[in-house]
C-alpha cells in the first residue's frame, strides 16, 4: 500500500476520560500512522463526518462511561449509510466482556480493554491492511 494509513481516534458521548484515547493516538502516530484526534464530547454524526472528510481507513472509539452499546453501533450504522462501510471501526475503554459479542455483531471489529498493549492495536491494524505503517 502506497498511501499512508489514516486513523481517527474519537471520543463519542459525554465522557471526559481521554487519557487512553490520547495515549493510543500518540502511540499510533509514533508508530508511523497518520492520526487525527477529535477531542472529547463528539456525537456519532460528527465522528463520521470527520472520518469521511479526512478519508481515513480506521475509526478508533474510546469510551469509559458505559454508553458503548448505544454509541459504538451508531457510528458503524452511520458509516454504512454514508457509503463508508469500508472504514474499519474498533474501540476501547471500560467495556465488560459480556458486551464484546454484541459489539462485534454490530460491526465493531475489535475491542481493546484496559491493559491491552499498543502492539495489539498495531497488529490488528496490520492484519486489516496487510501492511505496516512505514
Amino acid at each position: 500500500m502506497n498511501k499512508k494509513i489514516r486513523i481517527v481516534i474519537a471520543k463519542p458521548g459525554l465522557d471526559g476520560h481521554d487519557r487512553g484515547a490520547k495515549y493510543i493516538a500518540r502511540a499510533l502516530k509514533d508508530a508511523g500512522y497518520e492520526v487525527i484526534y477529535t477531542g472529547i464530547r463528539q456525537t456519532p454524526e460528527s465522528i463520521v463526518a470527520t472520518a469521511i472528510q479526512e478519508d481515513v481507513d480506521f475509526v478508533g472509539l474510546s469510551l469509559l462511561s458505559g454508553a458503548h452499546n448505544e454509541l459504538f453501533p451508531r457510528v458503524v450504522d452511520l458509516l454504512n449509510s454514508q457509503n463508508a462501510g469500508d472504514i474499519v471501526v474498533f474501540g476501547g475503554g471500560v467495556i465488560p466482556e459480556e458486551d464484546l459479542a454484541f459489539l462485534k455483531e454490530r460491526g465493531i471489529e475489535a475491542i481493546f480493554r484496559p491493559g491491552a498493549p499498543i502492539s495489539e492495536v498495531i497488529s490488528f491494524i496490520e492484519s486489516k491492511t496487510g501492511s505496516t505503517a512505514a
Binding site: L14, R19, K22, Y23, R26, G39, I40, A67, P117
Partner: protein, 553 residues
Amino acid sequence: MPDNKELNKKSLWEETTLGKVTSRFPLRDNLVTGSDVETDNIYIPIENFSYDKKLGFPGEYPYTRGVQPTMYRGRFWTMRQYAGFGTAEESNSRYKYLLAQGQTGLSIAFDLPTQIGYDSDDPISAGEVGKVGVAIDSLKDMETLFDGIPLDKVSTSMTINAPAAVLLAMYIIVAEKQGVSKDQIRGTIQNDILKEYIARGTYIFPPAPSMRLINNIFEYCSAEVPKWNTISISGYHIREAGSTAVQEIAFTIADGIEYVKNAIGVGLDVDNFAGRLSFFFNAHNDLLEEIAKYRAARRIWAKVMKEKFSAKKEKSMMMRFHTQTAGSTLTAQQPDNNIVRVAIQTLAAVMGGTQSLHTNSKDEALALPTEDSVRVALRTQQIVAHESGVANIVDPLAGSYYIEQLTDKIEAETWNYINKIEEMGGMVKAIEKGYVQKEIQDSAYRYQKAVEKGDRVVVGVNKFTIEEPAPGGLLRVNPELQKVQEENLTIVRSERDNARVRECLSALSEGASKEDINLMPLIIDSVREYATLGEISNVLREKFGEYRESIVL
C-alpha cells in the same frame, strides 16, 4: 541537605561496604518512585533540619503534620464512598445501605448529562442517562434521592462542577422541605471548573463566567450556608489523567491560587471564604511518595495563604482534603488484586492525614461496583482504622530521613511549577495555552511506555499474568432508564406552574447579563419552581456561551 560529615561517611560507605556488594550483585533496574523520581542508595539525617519551620505541631502552622491537633486520636477520618447510578430511587437505596454499613458521609455521583447541564430527554444525553451516576433533572429527582435521609445528620459531598450552583440550590430546598435550615446543612460541592478544563472534561461555560459563578457561590454561602464547603479543589483527576505526584499538587494549588485571586478581585475578604475551601487528592501505590506528597501540599498551601494572600485566620491556611484511591491503578485482569492495591493506597491517605476517604472497589476497571465489592472497599478502611494501629499516631512517618527529604523535594518542585504558572499569567492562561495539559500528557505517555516496555511492572497485566474466565456478576444499569426519566420529566413539566417557571428563568437570564448580580438566589427561585437543570443551564449557555477544548496531543 545532609551535613558534610554524614555525607562523607555516606560516600565512604558507598565506595566500600556497598560497593563490595554491588560489584558482585548489581542493584535492580528502575529504582524509581511511582512518579519516576530516582531514589538514593540510603537516606541520612538532614543538615540544620528546623523542626519548627518545616514541621511544627499538628494543628499549627505550617500544618505539615496535620490540620487537627488530635488527628485520628480524636476521631477517624470520614469514610465516604462515592456512589450513584440509575434513578434517584435506586441511588437512594444504595445510600441507605452504605449508611447502614457504618459509612459516615454521603458522596453523590451524578450521570454525565447532569454534570454537563443537560436534561435526560435532551438528544445529546442518549446512551449516557444514569450510567456513571444518578440522573437528576429537577428538584423532584433530588427529593427522591434524599428521601428518608435526614440532612441535618449526614454530610453530603456532591461531585458537580459546571452546574454546581443548581445542584446546591436543589439540596438547600430539599433540606428546607425537611425542616432543616440552610445554616445547618453540611457538605461539599466540587465546583472546581479549572480542573475540568485541564483533565476531567465536564465543563459548560468559558472561564470568565465560570469563575463568576464560583464567586457567587463563595459569597452566598459565606453569608447563608456557613457550614458548606464551597469548593473541592481537585488534584484527583489530574493524577488520573497521568500526572506525577508533584504535578498533581502543583496544578491543584495553582488552581487554588487562581480561585482565591479571583474572589479577592471581586472584593471578597480572604478570611471570609478561605476557611471553606477544601481539596481532593489521589492516593496512588507508591506509599512513601504519596505520604510525602500530602505533607508537602499542606505546608505549601499554608505558606501561600499566609504569605501571598495575607490570610489572618488559621482556618484559612489549613488545607483540609478528601482522598480517593487511584482508579487508574485498578486492573481489569485478576481484579481481586485490586483489593490489595486499595489497602496500600488507604494506608497512604491515612498516614498522610486525610480528612475523608473513598476507597475504590475491585471491579471498577470493569463496570460500576456491586454492593459486595463496595462493602469490601469500605471494610478496608475500617480495618486500617480499627486494626492496623496507624491511626493511633499523628503523622507517624515524620522524622524519617527519606520522608522528610522527599517532602522537601516535592515542595521545591511544586514551587517551580507554581512560579512558572504565575509567570504565564495564572492558571487560566496556562490552560488556554495548553501548557498544563501537555505536561500531564507527557507524564502519562512516559508512564505507559514504561509499562509497555516492562520497565514498570503492573502485576497481572505485564507480569504474572494468567488465563482467566470473564468475571461475572457485574452491575448493569437498566437501559430503560432514559425512558423512565423522560416520563418523569413530562410529569414535572405538566404539574408545575409554568408561568412562574418562565418568570424565574427570565429573571435569571437578566441577572446573568449583569456582572454584579449574585445568581445564587435567582437559581434557587428557579429550582423551587421545578425549572429543570437543562432549562437553567440553557439560559446560562445563551448568556455565557460554551467552552471549547483546545486539543493538545
